[in-house]
């Protein structure tokens, strides 16, 4: 090698190597795959898993010391429930900024993650010893995953004399679902369930609209699941216009269905709550059980799908006739039992216009008992919070924020804030007259225990329930036998 050129040559090569290594270490968005498969897509599809490209939506630097306003840093983690959409960020940051500007004891720092990754991200932060203080808005299911990490707020509520009289006591009770009935959240947003009905289909079938008051009769008879079945069959129509009560009804060519429990997460526990509130976990917190509402409810749904045909199958739900997968919006489902959050999604995306008007009715009863399953969002504190008192103060600000309620389209637990929410939604549906007394009434019939309440090894137990939920909508099953199998499966999962 010529010595006069070797010096610069060496430095150039070393510089190139350093540049390449720095570029390689700068971060990768793709997961490594086995061997050389990374470079060749296969007929079976891409090799890497389809990870969402969004991780942190708006990561803010986590302040280690006092915040910019001199206060103790309290971290607010958003993404487990709603709140991660780009259009929701501005309101969330404004609430935090306004709070920070109004006082100097606490600095509320916001971090937002996409819902698809938020639970994982929080698990990693907890595992790494770097957890946030406040999580929310988060629903019951989100909290189940972090049940052991969430703080009991009872003492903080008592010591700060926080006023809970503005909310229904049942909702306060609802949130005492932590370990040992710990209060793991303050009532913030509720999403009661009730019946949405398609007025056009009822008019075509010449049926009166369902009742809007609990206890009201329908066609002279109680408004219960038997009535749902009866009118459901009349509202189920085949391609030739025969309804399901007609001898010529063709079950292989149904174009309109009478009823479904929509977007119940394929969970038979959620669907069967119409038949009464229950838990598949016994009082000891360890034993699997199959209570009567589940036995009766699931059989009713199964018969509704395979014998009476007024409830759609899984394949039908995914077909163009029912969305796909937005049955009530399709206009081919006469009655949908679901929550108030569904008001987000009744109208089709612009520029399409809605093809029918709709109304709301109370949930049908079973054995003279009305049960309307509830979804609810709250804000919780983590046990690992280093500043629980300050975090609780910030939490109460979030819970009482009307701006956040409007941001999330949430039905306020606070009765004094409900009217403003009604007016907001009414503007979205100028052609519909929503009887708000229905969802308000349903808040008095919430399911306690909640259909999303804790089960040991929650994610796996839920997967087992969903497997049954998918199964019975795919083919006709022996429900009693399947429930026995489910009990054994659940027990095995609980025992893990």
């Amino acid at each position: 090698m010529n010595r006069s050129r070797s010096g610069p040559h060496v430095w150039m090569v070393l510089a190139a190597v350093v540049a390449i290594v720095v570029a390689a270490c700068g971060g990768t968005t793709t997961s490594p795959s086995t061997g050389t498969a990374a470079s060749a897509p296969a007929s079976a599809g891409a090799v890497a898993t389809a990870a969402p490209s969004l991780v942190a939506v708006t990561p803010k630097p986590i302040a280690a010391g006092p915040g910019p306003n001199g206060g103790k840093v309290v971290r607010w983690f958003i993404g487990l429930g709603t709140g991660g959409k780009p259009e929701q960020l501005a309101a969330e940051f404004k609430v935090a900024d306004d709070f920070n500007a109004s006082q100097k004891e606490i600095y509320l720092s916001v971090e937002v993650y996409d819902n698809r990754v938020a639970a994982n991200q929080l698990q990693i932060e907890i595992a790494a010893g770097n957890p946030p203080d406040i999580i929310g808005p988060v629903g019951v299911e989100g909290l189940n995953i972090f049940r052991n990490q969430v703080l009991d707020l009872t003492e903080l509520v008592a010591s700060s004399k926080y006023d809970l009289s503005k909310v229904d006591p049942k909702l306060v009770e609802f949130w005492k679902m932590g370990e040992g009935s710990a209060m793991i959240g303050l009532p913030f947003a509720t999403y009661p369930s009730f019946l949405y009905y398609n007025k056009k289909l009822f008019d075509e079938a010449k049926l009166p609209y369902p009742p809007t008051k609990v206890g009201e009769l329908y066609q002279g008879k109680p408004w219960d699941v038997a009535a749902i079945r009866e009118i459901g069959k009349k509202l189920t129509v085949d391609s030739k216009g025969n309804d399901a009560t007609n001898a010529n009804f063709d079950a292989a060519n149904i174009v309109q269905w009478g009823f479904d429990s929509q977007w119940a997460d394929n969970n038979p526990v959620a669907e069967s709550t119409l038949f009464g509130a229950f838990s598949v976990v016994g009082a000891d917190g360890e034993t699997a059980q199959i209570p009567d509402p589940l036995k009766v409810g699931l059989q009713w749904y199964s018969d509704g799908v395979w014998k009476d045909h007024f409830i759609p199958t899984y394949a039908q739900i995914r077909s163009n006739l029912l969305g796909p997968d937005n049955e009530f919006q399709s206009g081919n489902l006469a009655m949908a039992e679901t929550h108030s959050w569904y008001m987000c999604c009744i109208n089709p995306a612009a520029p399409a216009k809605p093809s029918f008007t709709w109304g709301v009715a109370v949930a049908p009863a079973y054995n003279n008992t009305t049960t309307a399953k509830l979804h609810a969002d709250t804000f919780s504190l983590l046990k690992s919070s280093k500043n629980p008192n300050e975090a609780f103060k910030a939490l109460t600000v979030l819970v009482e924020s009307g701006a956040l309620l409007a941001n999330y389209g949430a039905f306020p637990a606070d009765k004094t804030k409900q009217q403003a929410f009604f007016e907001t939604v009414n503007k979205q549906y100028p052609n519909v007259t929503i009887d708000w007394s229905v969802p308000q009434a349903m808040l008095s019939y919430v399911d306690i225990p909640n259909h999303q309440s804790y089960m040991p090894n929650y994610a796996k137990a839920k997967a087992a329930l969903q497997a049954l939920g998918n199964g019975y909508r795919t083919k006709e099953l022996d429900i009693a036998a399947e429930l026995e199998k489910l009990k054994t499966t659940l027990q095995g999962i609980f025992d893990e």
């Binding site: 290594v21 498969a37 891409a46 898993t49 698990q123 595992a127 790494a128 995953i145 077909s319 163009n320």
Partner: protein
């Protein structure tokens, strides 16, 4: 000679700092390592490192939600895996799927390559581009489109089948028809394999075909005796890649079944099962053990293929 050697004056030793001089072969080797260094570092940091971490994790009961109480459990995860019916189900489901989709993919990609390499074909470039294009469509979007196309109630395919008086199957809800359905979806994206096959076809010397034609060989004989043997290295490469990718199949079933593996665990492939255990149920230790099972299966199959290739694959350049 000895005298002339002795007569040579001894080389005077030069004053100054002593130098450690490497042999040229060693210097060359070092430069080789320098140039391959970035890749090696990447391999260590992003592949070998995580693999070692994953193996160590598989010997613990690491759970993201209870990270502070990690315990070393030895081979417990592997023992649990051996007794877990869901893991057995996932392995069987993956093999069942592979038995259908791998041969179908190989045959279809070779078939398309032969068709699109035909000298009589007009518009080869455009047609090849059309066959290749589906690869550019994002996988999730494509899967959702296919879910509509194959829907048993309103899907176009069943409408077409129905026009012949035959009732179309319930593609996504039948434990039998789900595999052909997924294979159909996979066939949409064989463009890459097809291109590689075309490159292989074009490397076959045309004199061989001429000689075969003179000897009276027909198209089928030419295919069997000339094309396939000479393309065998390419076919082996495609087969290995296809096999590996099939065993790593995930995105389509996750999209179609929301991660449940429906119907009735028929699509609960190994990769999906490992994802559920590790990221849905938070059992990272157990998920890591399943990942190593997947690795072992794929490695074993690949080694089998290479062993098979020794006798069946023709390398024009020889075996060296």
């Amino acid at each position: 000679m000895t005298e002339s050697t002795k007569a040579l004056p001894a080389t005077p030793s030069r004053p100054g700092p002593s130098r450690f001089v490497l042999r040229p072969s060693v210097r060359e080797a070092i430069w080789g390592y320098v140039f391959v260094g970035p890749w090696l570092i990447g391999l260590l940091l992003f592949t070998a490192g995580p693999m070692i971490a994953s193996f160590l994790m598989s010997l613990t009961d690491f759970d993201l939600l209870h990270a502070d109480s990690v315990r070393f459990v030895g081979l417990d995860n592997y023992i649990q895996m051996a007794n877990d019916p869901l893991v057995a189900t996932s392995v069987i489901a993956t093999f069942k799927f592979a038995l259908i989709t791998v041969p179908l993919t190989m045959l279809a990609s070779l078939g398309f390559a032969l068709l699109l390499n035909n000298r009589h074909l007009v518009g080869k470039g455009a047609l090849r581009a059309l066959v290749y294009m589906p690869i550019m469509i994002p996988l999730v979007a494509g899967t959702l489109v296919w879910s509509g196309f194959l829907n048993s109630q309103t899907g176009w395919l069943n409408d077409i089948i129905g026009a012949f008086g035959v009732e179309g199957p319930d593609w996504f809800n039948s434990e039998v028809w789900i595999y052909p359905a997924l294979s159909l979806i996979g066939l949409w994206a064989i463009g890459n394999f097809m291109l590689i096959n075309i490159a292989g076809l074009q490397a076959v010397p045309t004199e061989l075909y001429e000689a075969a034609r003179i000897d009276g060989a027909g198209a089928w004989t030419s295919l069997r005796r000339i094309t396939i043997p000479l393309m065998s290295p390419i076919l082996l490469y495609n087969l290995v890649i296809c096999l590996i990718a099939t065993f790593q199949y995930f995105t389509q079933v996750y999209t179609l079944t929301n991660g449940h593996g429906d119907p009735n665990n028929a699509t609960l492939f190994i990769n999906l099962e490992l994802f559920r255990e590790a990221f849905v149920f938070s059992k990272m230790g157990y998920g890591s053990a399943i990942a190593w099972l997947l690795f072992a299966i794929v490695l074993a199959l690949t080694l089998l293929l290479f062993a098979f290739a020794r006798k069946r694959v023709y390398y024009a350049g020889g075996d060296q």
